[in-house]
Every structure is written in C-alpha cells, then in structure tokens.
C-alpha cells in the first residue's frame, strides 16, 4: 500500500478510487459554501505560474519537503485507472454541483513556453490551478502554438466563462494523450486527500517529477500501483515499448534477443502496455512483485 492509500484510502479502495476524495464538501465540510474560503483557495493562474517558475521554490529541497507535508501529492496511474478516475470525478461533480474543465499545464508553460491543454481539473469552483480552464479545445487542437484566437479566449476567460468538460470528451482526450505518449498522474495541489486534477505529462515538463528526481522529494509523485511485466513468449521484439518508456526501465538485449523491464525503475504508467501490439506486456499489481513491493 502506498502512503496515500494508507492515509486516505480504505480497505477495498485506493485513495483515488473513493468518490469522497473528489468532493470538497465531504473533506472540508466547514469551509464549504463560504465564499471567502473559496476565494482564498482560488489562487489566480498567474500566481500559480509564478510559484512554479520560482527557482527558490523548485530548487529548495527543504521548502519542497515542507510543501509536500502540507498536502501536495500525486501518483502515477494507468490509462484504465484514469478512465475510472474521470468517471468518479464526474459523479462527484454531479453530486456537488461543480464542473470538470480542461486546462493547460502550468509546468509546461514555464518550462517550455507553450500552452498545452493536457490537464483536467475537477471540482472547478474550488480548484486552484484551473482558472484558465476550458471545456472545449481551441480550434480542435491540443496545443496552442499560433495563438491567433487566444486573445479572444483570454478575454472570455477573464469574464468568467467556463465551459464544462463532458465525460465523453474527457475519455476521448485521454485516448489522444495516451497516443501522444504522455503518462498520467492524479494529483492534489495542497489539500490532500482532495483530488483536484489529472495531469498528462512528459518527464521533461513535469515539475512534480523534478521535485522527485532532481530535488529528491519523493512524496511529490509516487510510483503507480502496477508494474509492467513482459511475456517473452508472445513478445516479437518490435521495440514499441522501448520507444514509449520515459523512465529508462525497458532495455533490449541484443545478445539474448530479449526485452527486459526493470521492476525497480518501472513507474507503472502503463504506456508500454498500451503500445504493445501483441499484448505481451501485463500490468501486474505492485504487491505481487517482491522487489518492487515497497518502492513507491
């Protein structure tokens, strides 16, 4: 069991499988409905960008540890889990009268200078990061490169226009992101166990990833509940999985003509499983692999 499941899950459910963890009113019953509390939580998007891009913030290990213990946390999940997460979030949104939106990735904005619509925010009235959120994608594209109608978009957003994201649209988007080779994390941004967003990211652009692997604060992004395992009898050594893995866990050995997956390096994102044309890669629960059982 991972740290978040021990603290926020129950016997049968992982922490992101409980619908209560998506509902602000359940987790913070005292604050719910108070406009002041909501406003305090809704840091504007530029403030979020600011915090993420602050070298003092992203380089300072003590500061990061402080923040992670104050309720920042995330975990890598597979595509199947992500579909379940979106369904749960949709249900919570209906019960709670909030909406889901797709927003752009703040890490990607500060590290690459591109607004890339790869995040889904839940419980919109109380979600911090997704002030610039849109249920529809600008001009049917995921990435805003040219930005011709972006000025209008921003004007609309300043007026407070928010277009809810439908469940079917969310599922479509998840497929697109999977094909682009982005791994998924489910995250809370400072108020664990309230799940506030899903991110789809690459190693290069993920601030949480950097917090873990460059600054050494592991709690920011935990490894997933599954580990990839290859079946050498059905594997045809096409190399699709090696191309997808961003964590360096998959290696091809030319001498033995084998594909090895290192369970200690596998983060459990499931990209190799989705990419494999022969279904030779299974996602096995982490508990079943002794060497990876306690690696989170």
């Amino acid at each position: 069991m991972c740290q978040w499941c021990q603290e926020h899950g129950d016997r049968d459910h992982k922490w992101y499988e409980r619908v209560e963890n998506y509902m602000f009113t359940k987790i913070f019953p005292d604050e719910a409905g108070q406009e002041k509390a909501k406003n305090e939580m809704r840091a504007t998007f530029s403030q979020t960008e600011w915090r993420y891009s602050d070298p003092e913030f992203i380089r300072n290990e003590e500061f990061l540890r402080d923040r992670s213990s104050s309720g920042f946390g995330s975990q890598i999940i597979t595509r199947e889990e992500m579909l379940r997460v979106v369904r749960l979030a949709d249900e919570a949104a209906k019960r709670e009268d909030s909406i889901m939106v797709v927003g752009h990735c703040p890490c990607r904005l500060v590290l690459e200078g591109v607004r890339d619509y790869v995040c889904i925010g839940f419980g919109m009235p109380v979600t911090m990061s997704m002030e610039v959120g849109y249920g529809r994608l600008p001009r049917g594209g995921l990435t805003e490169h040219g930005g011709a109608d972006w000025a209008q978009l921003r004007k609309d957003l300043r007026k407070g226009v928010k277009v809810p994201l439908k469940l079917e649209e969310a599922e479509q988007l998840i497929d697109e992101w999977e094909q682009r080779g982005l791994w998924h994390i489910v995250m809370s941004r400072g108020r664990l166990p309230l799940i506030e967003a899903i991110c789809n990211c690459e190693r290069r652009y993920c601030t949480y990833w950097m917090n873990r692997f460059r600054s050494g604060v592991d709690e920011y992004v935990l490894k997933g509940h599954f580990v990839a395992r290859v079946d050498p009898t059905t594997c045809v050594r096409c190399g699709e999985c090696v191309a997808k893995c961003q964590f360096g866990a998959i290696h091809y050995s030319a001498t033995s003509d084998n594909v090895d997956i290192d369970a200690t390096l596998c983060m459990g994102c499931g990209l190799c499983h989705a990419a494999c044309p022969n279904d030779a890669i299974d996602m096995v629960p982490r508990e079943e692999i002794p060497i990876a059982r306690n690696l989170w």
Binding site: W50, S53, P55, L111, G113
Partner: protein
Amino acid sequence: MYQSSKSEFVEIILDDNSSKGIGHNGIEITIDRNRCNYSQYDPTGCKKCLQICPVGVFNTRPIEKRDFSIPPKDRVDPTQWIILATWTDWCNGCRACVDTCPKGAITIQFGDKRLAP
C-alpha cells in the same frame, strides 16, 4: 538510469541587464536581457532555448517587483516575463542554446571553456 540525486544549489543573480545562473560545479549561464526579447504574450515570441535544451536548463517566469511595500500577491507583473537558467548545474555543454539563440544572448562558462556565440 535514474537516481534520486540532489543537485547543488544554484545562485541566480538577476539585474536589469542580465540573468545569471551560477552552479557550484563551475557552470555559469548568462542571459543578456537586452538582447533576449522573450515575451509570453507574443505568440510568435522566440522560445528556442527553452525548447532545444536537452536537459531543460531554462525556465520562464514573470518578473517580481522588488518593492516590499507592495503586498506579495501584487508584486508579480504577469505581462513581463524573463528566461532564467534555473537548472544550471545540469548543463552538459552541448552549446545548442548558444547556437540556436537568434540574438546571441546566451553565454556559458562551462568549466574552463567559454561557450559564446
């Protein structure tokens, strides 16, 4: 292979003319702010160094006003952005950013070597 490694502290010196990241492993990346015309709100704006760097040394951020009589949340001007070399010590000296910058704004002191346009 990935290991959880802590990078050394990088000092960032920012003044009106340049932003300079000083790593403790002998790497210094200086960006001339007079030459770099990066702007987040210009869609055709140049962000070549951000995109070309193989280890992701650079990041962007809005400029903070150093006037402490202003409350913290108003100190940021979201229309004025700059590029910083935050992960200076991860630089591998490939000089891709130096060569790609159209204004020649980036200079790197890479140990004994000086990488300049």
